[in-house]
């Protein structure tokens, strides 16, 4: 058995202490509610220590910090099972009670069970979920390629239309700020596409002027993006970083407990 220091420490912090805490918490509910705070403290402190202490047991590839990241994936795997159970429960309830939109739940549950069954069959039969030995797609892959990916692309492509409608609303010059936004937005859009070149295309005499104008617009666009826009973004990022650090300390010290369903703070 590999009893290296980091591994043993993780076992004590995240296995022994919680189990002992749960056992003691049977008689003391207050202790039971504090146990997650203790786990959060350890889970938050270890990566911070790993930032400054380069010892292998802490921040090496098989150190405590890396192992915690791996554990997150394992925990998320179990949580995903809870999610699937929740989807099935909600879908079944809607169908059985004939709630509004229940036919959609029938489609959802059919898709879930059929795709899941084909995936499990691929794993059990050692066929995999990619291609058959003769080069054809497995049914699982066919569903993914022919149904899932086109639907996914359809939703993503909506973005182009929504961007236009959002820009139309944002660029209405209702006040001074909106007017500045409109002008800056117009300049950036014009600088990112060869607009002048396109307009001057039928007039050969204007080609040189259009090329120079496009270059100037491009430089202006870069200036708008790098200087005023970059400065504003830096301000937001610095403020957000301080906020994130403050939030992290609050979580580690157990001051912020809302994410555990234990109320805002004490």
């Amino acid at each position: 058995m590999n009893l290296e220091f980091g591994r043993v420490t993780l076992f004590v912090l995240f296995m022994l202490i919680p189990i002992v805490g749960i056992a003691l918490g049977v008689r003391a509910p207050a202790l039971r509610s504090r146990l997650p705070l203790l786990v959060a403290f350890f889970a938050g402190t270890i990566p911070i220590l790993a930032m400054y202490i380069p010892k292998n047991f802490l921040s090496g590839p098989q150190g405590m910090s890396s192992r915690l990241d791996q554990w997150l994936i394992i925990v998320a795997g179990f949580a995903l099972l809870l999610g699937i159970v929740n989807v099935i429960q909600n879908g079944m309830r809607k169908v059985s009670r004939r709630e509004s939109g229940w036919p959609f739940s029938v489609v959802l549950l059919t898709g879930l069970f059929v795709t899941g069954a084909l995936g499990i069959y691929g794993a059990v039969s050692h066929q995999g979920i990619g291609f058959l030995p003769d080069g054809r797609s497995t049914p699982f892959k066919w569903i993914q390629d022919s149904m899932f990916l086109p639907l996914q692309a359809t939703i993503f492509s909506l973005l182009a239309f929504f961007m236009a409608s959002a820009a139309f609303r944002a660029f209405r010059a209702r006040n001074l700020e909106a007017t500045i936004l409109l002008i800056a937005g117009g300049l950036v859009m014009a600088g990112r596409v060869p607009l002048l070149d396109l307009l001057a295309a039928p007039f050969p005499a204007l080609h040189a002027s259009a090329a120079a104008g496009t270059q100037t617009l491009g430089k202006l666009t870069e200036w708008i993006m790098d200087t005023p826009n970059g400065a504003a973004q830096s301000g937001i990022i610095i403020g957000a970083a301080l906020g994130a650090a403050s939030m992290a300390i609050r979580v580690i010290l157990g001051i912020e407990r809302g994410y555990l369903g234990l109320g805002g703070g004490e």
Binding site: M51, Y52, I53, P54, K55, N56, S59, G60, G63, L72, V75, A76, A79, L80, L82, G83, N86, V87, Q89, N90, S100, G101, L151, Q152, I155, F156, L158, L159, F162, M163, S165, A166, A167, R169, Q233, I236, I237, I238, G239, A240, L242, G243, A244, A245, S246, A248, I249, R250, V251, I255, E256, G258, Y259, L260, G261, L262, G263, G264, G265, E266
Partner: protein
């Protein structure tokens, strides 16, 4: 030049001496002598040698690396190369490691194993030719070799290059704890009005009046993202309000861990408000792990169920605009919040209120008015004030030509 002398002396040793010296080197690394190359191109007296060649464990790392430094000989042409070779246990034969261009004067051997004793050799190879130890006759002439003392790599206790970050973190922690202590003493702490957070009750009140649900979308990231944690804390406050007013709440989730945490937060909020009877498991529901399938499902739910208020608070990517525009088209009052500036323009263009950057993290304190949380928000403002002063100082100092000042704040 001691190392070079050592190397040239050992080169004259008979072949059978190599294993013996190897064992000596392994047992007594501080006193061992370098092992000469078994076969090496002849050093040319015309080709200069590098100087001050040293090898040491790279400071402040997790091990597995040896730092080599040297000074290039004067008059080295741009086509010349410096060949670094390494002698390693158990055979202690020289093996080529790297050809380095003139001017670099630094190389990190990241293939070293912790605890193993190594020696390194450097020599000038003119016109970029590689010295081939196994083909003596064909090998070009090289400069005289220079050999380091034995060295081992190991992991260290402190990352020296992050000292500035550690000092800043400790200072921020002190400011935070001091601010919380002041807040606990009962002193009034002023926090500027945040329109987006004042509108939370207004949005829930409107949903209550209309008799429609409140939809809360906590982003699509997991609980390892601090914005998601902040979002779940805000969800707790929103859930308390919906419990108080008896308004329906819908929290669709993309990430399974966020789903579990959101469920605990909402359940806790309904219990805290003394309305566990109003809490239903399906209020916090899981949708799917796929980004656009989630977007499609939530958008469809918005269109079908027409929630009166929509909260989009957390970490969003490309789906931000699709969700916000869909919500806008249903006529719902929308409050968004994200700390990352990439999606903020979309929220600002489409939502009624937007929590920008740090406002997201201050929301929990602002809504709860807990003194301890307000104290931490005060600490953020103090730290921001210090950063503004340092920024202005940096502008002045750098304008005066003192380039060391920005270097103080660089981290690795």
């Amino acid at each position: 030049m001691r190392n070079g002398v050592l190397s040239r002396a050992s080169a004259r040793l008979p072949r059978f001496a190599a294993p013996l010296l190897a064992s000596l080197l392994f047992l007594h690394p501080q006193t061992a002598v370098a092992i000469a190359p078994e076969v090496a191109p002849p050093p040319s007296p015309q080709i200069p040698a590098a100087t001050l060649f040293t090898a040491k464990d790279r400071p402040g790392d997790s091990g597995g690396a040896v730092l080599l430094t040297w000074k290039d000989p004067p008059g080295l042409g741009p086509d010349a190369r410096l060949e670094i070779r390494r002698a390693e246990p158990p055979s202690f034969e020289w093996t080529p490691l790297q050809l380095v261009k003139p001017g670099e004067e630094r190389y990190v051997d990241e293939s070293a194993k912790d605890g193993s004793v190594y020696r390194y050799e450097i020599r000038v190879v003119p016109q970029g030719a590689t010295a081939q130890p196994d083909s003596l006759a064909a090998a070009p002439a090289t400069g005289p070799p220079l050999v380091t003392e034995p060295v081992t790599s190991h992991d260290d206790w402190f990352r020296v290059d992050r000292t500035n970050s550690l000092i800043a973190s400790i200072l921020f922690l002190i400011i935070l704890l001091a601010s919380i202590s002041v807040a606990k003493s009962g002193k009034h702490i002023f926090i500027r009005r945040i329109a987006g957070l004042n509108a939370v009750d207004e949005a829930i009140g409107r949903a209550t009046e209309i008799g429609k649900k409140v939809m809360y979308i906590p982003g699509i990231q997991s609980m390892d993202e601090i914005q998601t944690i902040a979002s779940i804390a805000i969800l707790g406050h929103v859930a308390r309000s919906t419990a108080r007013y008896g308004t329906d709440l819908d929290v669709p989730n993309k990430d399974p861990l966020t789903f579990v945490s959101a469920r605990e937060a909402v359940r806790g909020a309904y219990l805290a408000e003394g309305r566990p009877d109003l809490y239903r498991e399906e209020m916090v529901n899981y949708v799917t792990y796929d980004q656009f399938a989630y977007t499609a499902a939530v958008s469809a739910r918005m269109v079908r169920e027409r929630p009166a208020a929509i909260f989009l608070i957390g970490y969003f990517f490309a789906e931000s605009l699709i969700l916000a525009e869909m919500g806008q088209s249903t006529g719902a009052i929308q409050i968004a919040g994200q700390a990352d500036p990439t999606q903020l323009p979309f929220f600002i263009a489409t939502c009624d209120y937007t929590l920008i950057g740090e406002e997201l993290y201050a929301a929990s304190a602002y809504l709860s008015r807990e003194p301890v949380l307000l104290g931490s928000t005060r600490a953020q403002d103090i730290a921001k004030g210090i950063l503004i002063v340092l920024g202005l100082l940096g502008i002045v100092v750098t304008s005066l030509g003192l380039s060391w000042f920005p270097d103080l704040f660089k981290t690795k």
